[in-house]
């Protein structure tokens, strides 16, 4: 007896199959997904997701006997209606078809439910999102090269030997040089045996001669030769990436209640997740502001508890300072997302709009403003009113409002919808 520990074997052997399956049901998944997305919380992103799709298109056709025709014998246990030897009528008449028959394997279900891993879920969620206007300003030098297949070569390392191409050439050469097959030689030998049995001296001689001839040819033309060998070739290709930086500006003033901050943070978490997954080389700059602004790290940005008054222009100035210091305009694509409850000191509005209009918007590829609000009437905040004018003048400016956690997904989707910039005045 032999005990083998297979637990070390590579996991998820059926990953390929799973991917095929997901590809097949993608359109259904997307539909089921958008239906349910409004009810989701960000925290849901952590775990896997359950998706329920119609099983109609997952049906696998099977061959089976038509129950309406043919003669069939069954052994059935019998009950109080039937006794041994009874003949049971065939169900229904002709032309019944297989109208409302259940699924072939017996467990009829309306929908097929399965769980997506969080990776698969995020892939689906971020699927057609992208950073708009990502111009290739400069190829990043640290771009990692990738290996791509590049045809075949006549030499290479043994593990790259391409058996199919090699055998193809071997076969062609053997045919061209008329190398006899083993079968042909065998046939000649049979012929010889026949001749020996027949006692025909001339035929024996002829057969022997032909066999010797063929065997010599077989030796002269080898089955496989060095000229046949072909190796798969791979080449290094530099993969261009674009440099982009995303500025996350968040209002953390006292007017932002805990709940509003939470909404804003959720939005940025989503943005963060999106950029990290889809743009490996995108840098993130976190700026939070009260009456003064400061660049902070990720940790402080999401978990900090600082509070104070509100001066929006301070954040814009801080952003300009960071741009000037670290992100030369020639090399970088600049993006910004600002989240606020819409409050600002009145005397600061002029400066804020001026900064945006004259300095920030001209250098930004895209600027998104998200207003987090717990009331139901949009458009009565200072910032919202002020920014409305910008909307018509700048194509790279967008604004949207988030009232509750459920809005975040759709708003995020609209703001980064495949480069088709939509201007949301209200939702």
């Amino acid at each position: 007896m032999h005990v083998v520990d297979r637990r070390q074997n590579p996991k998820s052997k059926s990953l390929g199959n799973r991917q095929r399956f997901l590809r097949r049901v993608k359109s259904h998944m997307r539909k089921a997904f958008t239906d349910s997305i409004r009810n989701r919380k960000i925290a849901d992103l952590e775990g896997g997701q359950e998706v329920s799709i119609s099983s109609k298109d997952l049906h696998e056709p099977t061959f089976h006997h038509d129950s309406n025709v043919g003669h069939r014998d069954y052994v059935l246990p019998g009950n109080h209606d039937y006794r041994p030897g009874d003949v049971i009528e065939k169900p229904g008449g002709g032309g019944r078809g297989s109208g409302a028959s259940g699924s072939a394997d017996g467990d009829g279900e309306d929908s097929f439910v399965f769980a997506l891993t969080s990776d698969e879920f995020l892939d689906l969620f971020f699927e057609d999102l992208e950073l708009p206007n990502l111009a290739k300003k400069k190829l990043k030098s640290m771009a990692s090269p990738t290996w791509v297949r590049a045809g075949y070569s006549v030499d290479g390392s043994p593990q790259r030997l391409n058996k199919r191409e090699t055998m193809r050439r071997s076969l062609a050469r053997r045919i061209a040089l008329k190398r006899p097959t083993i079968k042909e030689v065998q046939a000649l030998q049979d012929e010889l045996q026949e001749a020996i049995d027949g006692g025909d001296a001339e035929a024996i001689d002829r057969a022997r001669k032909r066999i010797a001839e063929q065997q010599a040819r077989m030796r002269a033309v080898p089955y496989l030769e060095t000229v046949d060998l072909r190796y798969s070739r791979v080449e290094r290709v530099p993969k261009p990436t674009t440099q982009a930086v995303m500025f996350c500006l968040m209002d953390t003033s006292a007017s932002m209640t805990e709940q509003l901050k939470d909404l804003a943070k959720r939005f940025y978490m989503l943005l963060h997740l999106f950029l990290k997954r889809h743009y490996k080389s995108v840098e993130l700059v976190f700026i939070r502001h009260t009456y003064t602004a400061q660049e902070v790290d990720e940790e402080t940005f999401f978990h900090g508890r600082e509070t104070g008054g509100t001066v929006v222009s301070s954040a814009l100035e801080e952003m300009l300072r960071v741009v000037k210091q670290r992100y030369p305009l020639d090399d970088w694509n600049i993006y910004a997302a600002q989240a606020s409850d819409g409050h600002n000191f009145d005397h600061d509005m002029g400066l804020t709009l001026r900064l945006l209009q004259q300095q920030i918007l001209p250098i930004c590829q895209y600027y998104a403003y998200i207003e987090v609000n717990d009331d139901q009437w949009p458009g009565d905040s200072v910032l919202w009113d002020g920014y409305l004018n910008l909307l018509s003048q700048h194509a790279n400016f967008a604004m949207a409002e988030v009232n509750q956690a459920a809005d975040i997904f759709p708003v995020f989707h609209d703001l980064f919808d495949g480069g088709q910039k939509k201007k949301l005045t209200t939702n």
């Binding site: 007896m1 032999h2 005990v3 083998v4 520990d5 297979r6 637990r7 074997n9 996991k11 998820s12 052997k13 059926s14 390929g16 199959n17 799973r18 991917q19 095929r20 399956f21 997901l22 590809r23 097949r24 359950e50 997952l58 696998e60 097929f112 439910v113 399965f114 769980a115």
Partner: protein, 164 residues
């Protein structure tokens, strides 16, 4: 194992110096639910003793493979075949089985045994020692004997009863 003869015989072998791990509990093959490879060998020996000498079973060689529940799900999706072509329907089956298993709606099969020589039986790492023993007795000897001696299997497998 019903009359305890298997145990007795095994104990005799034990006394002859094949690893006797727990001398104080030498009446038992194992205690508790934990299994390890030594125990598997030990139990296999005891089961083999009964199967071959007492019941007179005629079996292929045995190969026992330890797998995880995920690998069992993989095997499910591939209808128990160790290798299969790629197809979306296997992915579908896997997704279905996995969800049912994770939710506790169904447990996994205790045994999966392949009709080949050597006869391959899978035991799952999550199972208790008693379960492993049952799988070894049922699959590695019961099914195995059937595989080797069934008349209908002669057509496609090398099923041939050993001449006795």
């Amino acid at each position: 194992m019903k009359d305890g003869q298997g145990f007795r015989r095994w104990n005799e072998i034990d006394d002859n110096g094949i690893d006797d791990m727990t001398s104080q509990s030498s009446k038992l093959l194992y205690s508790g639910s934990q299994w390890d490879f030594d125990l598997l060998h030990r139990v296999y020996g005891a089961v083999e003793e009964i199967a071959l000498n007492e019941l007179g079973l005629d079996v292929y060689r045995n190969q026992i493979e330890v797998i995880t529940s995920e690998q069992m799900l993989d095997a499910y999706a591939a209808i128990g075949m160790p290798l299969l072509y790629r197809h979306w329907s296997f992915g579908k089956r896997f997704a279905r089985e996995e969800l049912l298993y994770r939710k506790g709606a169904q447990s996994l099969a205790y045994e999966l045994v392949i009709n080949s020589d050597p006869c391959v039986s899978y035991v799952m790492e999550e199972n208790t020692m008693t379960m492993q023993t049952l799988v070894i007795a049922h699959a590695a000897f019961g099914h195995n004997h059937f595989f080797k001696n069934n008349h209908l299997f002669r057509q496609w497998t090398s099923a041939r009863p050993s001449s006795r």
